[in-house]
């Protein structure tokens, strides 16, 4: 059931907004149990030099679901998600402990090439960052360096369709990606990320730099993408997490005696459970707005 996002006007999108609370029990029972795990996180800790940014995270990300990471700022959500595609390698002082298993393979194993990891696990960043190249080249770059043997034109069109951007740009594929609006740029970045046929798509606060209408379009897009990809989204906007995700992980910060702030996982459950009947008090305080 492919919703035709591109041809919906902004008004129609606004009317479609899902209510935050009040999902029926029936809907909850529909949820398939026993979906396979795509990423298994065990005792994950991240250090920047001596500073412990994140401690002892344990979670399982399931296939073809949207998993949201929420929590106050500074609790390490971005740090964690960047462990999943080894982006933390770019920071010289970063060190990772524990295991992150992708389909059973430890991402931080000796034999693993980070470049290869990123072709399986794609990323969309907070501020849209299309390359200063044409729209076509933006999407074609990833497959080209991965030595894609098929028809690039088809691949570009398919990626743009899946990102709900094709109709808007099909006549101007040669124009610069930077000439698009903010929301379009971010959809271009999504198209770029899925062009390499990844398994998992990581999204680090993808809508925080966008206006509400653009945000809604991308949220709609995520529902469709979920059929083919597993999506992990970091968001500081709780309502977005409630709208969009299947499961939610809530993170918080502790202050130890030296003043170091370390992030840790408080609770990880289905979104409905987190938002309607959380187990931890901290979770409840956060979602009711008592802090954060």
């Amino acid at each position: 059931m492919r919703r035709d996002i591109e041809h919906q006007s902004d008004e129609m999108l606004l009317e479609r907004r899902r209510p935050v609370i009040g999902v029926s029990r029936a809907a909850m029972q529909e949820e398939k149990v026993g979906r396979s795990t795509v990423i298994e996180v065990t005792d994950l800790g991240v250090y920047y030099g001596d500073f412990k940014a994140v401690s002892d995270v344990n979670m399982s990300i399931r296939q073809n679901e949207i998993t949201a990471l929420i929590g106050p700022s500074g609790c390490g959500k971005s740090t964690i998600i960047r462990c999943f595609n080894r982006m933390n390698d770019l920071i010289p002082t970063a060190r990772v402990e524990g295991r992150v298993e992708y389909h059973g393979v430890d991402l931080y194993g000796e034999e693993v090439d980070p470049v290869e990891v990123r072709r399986h696990i794609g990323m969309v960043f907070q501020k849209p960052n299309p390359f200063p190249k044409s729209i076509y080249d933006n999407i074609a770059f990833g497959p080209r360096i991965a030595r894609y043997r098929g028809d690039l034109d088809d691949l570009v069109e398919e990626s743009l369709r899946k990102a709900a951007l094709w109709d808007e740009v099909k006549d101007k594929l040669g124009e610069s990606g930077l000439a698009l609006s903010g929301g379009q740029q971010q959809r271009l970045c999504i198209a770029r990320a899925i062009a390499t046929s990844p398994d998992v798509v990581l999204m680090d606060e993808p809508c925080s730099a966008l206006d509400p209408i653009a945000t809604l379009r991308i949220e709609e897009l995520m529902f469709d993408l979920k059929d083919e990809y597993s999506i992990i989204i970091v968001t500081h906007n709780m309502q977005q997490a409630a709208r969009v995700s299947d499961r939610t992980a809530f993170f918080n910060v502790t202050l130890d005696d030296t003043g170091q702030r370390t992030g840790y996982l408080v609770e990880f459950n289905s979104t409905d459970a987190i938002f309607t009947s959380p187990n931890e008090k901290a979770t409840e305080d956060y979602i009711t707005g008592r802090f954060g």
């Binding site: 595609n85 982006m87 770019l90 010289p92 470049v115 290869e116 990123r118 072709r119 794609g122 990323m123 960043f125 501020k127 960052n129 299309p130 390359f131 200063p132 770059f141 990833g142 360096i145 991965a146 610069s176 970045c189 770029r192 990320a193 062009a195 390499t196």
Partner: protein
């Protein structure tokens, strides 16, 4: 009551709109402008003076004749051919040796090196190298290219060859190329690199397809300007043998002969001619300077033109 209200507004109006005589401020501002204009005035006077001094030469001979004539003790027939040819060849050395090495070094320092004692000391070394007087590079050339490697660089002339001169200039210009390239690389936003890495590009792929294209205009400008700098240098060449003025570019001289033979260059020729007492050489020197300035102008113009052209193609 009403009158006092009117009085107040009158007073305020007078205060706010009266022209305050800030003589000191005006004099100060003009003083600054004079400082600036004086510098530019000197430039203008210099250019005018040199052009006027060179007029006798242009009245007597054509530009082509001046360029193509060989060096001579007779001011009426002396030309700048050897010096011109020498300068051009020396520029080729700089372009071929200093630019690739410099750009590659900068790429390593900005894109590969981890911030640590090694890279920080290399950066400090390069900054200091850029501040070393050019004549000290002449000493380096003298000690190493002339004396030590004389048998390779110029066996017939005890090492005081074009090759030695070219290598010396290349070494002189290298730190500048590194610094300007590094600046251009640093100006590339980190988000582009992140995006490329996120799509599965290796470091080299990121550099080649994303960083370099964006940094290219800046790199190009920097390298061309360093060529211009090398073009104007005389002191290091003096030490490496450029003063030995007469070198024959006979029809039977092979390329290697020229490389390994004595050489001259335009700035060095200015130096020799300026010291000659004969009146005729005074205008010859001025004419040579005019040619040099035109060449420099062309080089700079090329740099700016190329930079503007590439910046549009983003």
């Amino acid at each position: 009551m009403a009158t006092s209200f009117v009085d107040v507004s009158q007073v305020v109006r007078r205060k706010l709109t009266g022209r305050r005589r800030d003589i000191r401020g005006v004099v100060f501002a003009w003083g600054l402008l004079v400082a600036l204009l004086l510098s530019l005035l000197v430039l203008a006077v210099l250019l005018y003076d040199v052009t006027v001094d060179s007029l006798p030469v242009w009245r007597q001979r054509t530009v082509a004749d001046f360029l193509r004539s060989q060096l001579s003790a007779n001011p009426d027939v002396a030309g700048i051919w050897q010096a011109f040819y020498g300068s051009m060849l020396l520029m080729v050395f700089v372009v071929v040796i200093a630019i690739p090495t410099g750009v590659a070094s900068a790429i390593y320092l900005e894109e590969y090196a981890v911030d640590g004692p090694f890279s920080r000391s290399v950066n400090a070394v390069i900054r200091n190298l850029a501040g070393v007087p050019s004549i000290v590079y002449g000493l380096l050339g003298l000690a190493i290219f002339v004396k030590l490697m004389g048998s390779i660089t110029g066996p017939q002339v005890e090492g005081r060859s074009l090759i030695s001169g070219g290598l010396t200039l290349a070494v002189l210009v290298l730190p500048i190329v590194i610094i300007t390239t590094a600046e251009a690389l640093r100006a590339v936003p980190g988000s582009i690199r992140e995006a490329a890495v996120g799509v599965g590009a290796t470091r080299f792929q990121t550099i080649r397809h994303h960083v370099l294209p964006v940094a290219a205009p800046g790199i190009l400008t920097g390298t061309i300007l360093s060529v211009a700098r090398a073009f104007g240098e005389a002191a290091p060449l003096l030490l490496v043998g450029g003063i030995t003025t007469f070198f024959q570019i006979g029809a039977d001289a092979t390329f290697l002969d020229i490389m390994q033979g004595r050489f001259s260059a335009m700035p060095v020729l200015v130096f020799s001619w300026a010291r000659l007492p004969q009146e005729g050489f005074r205008s010859l020197t001025a004419a040579l300077i005019v040619v040099m300035l035109i060449v420099l102008f062309l080089i700079n113009f090329t740099a700016i033109y190329l930079r503007d052209r590439y910046e549009k193609v983003v």
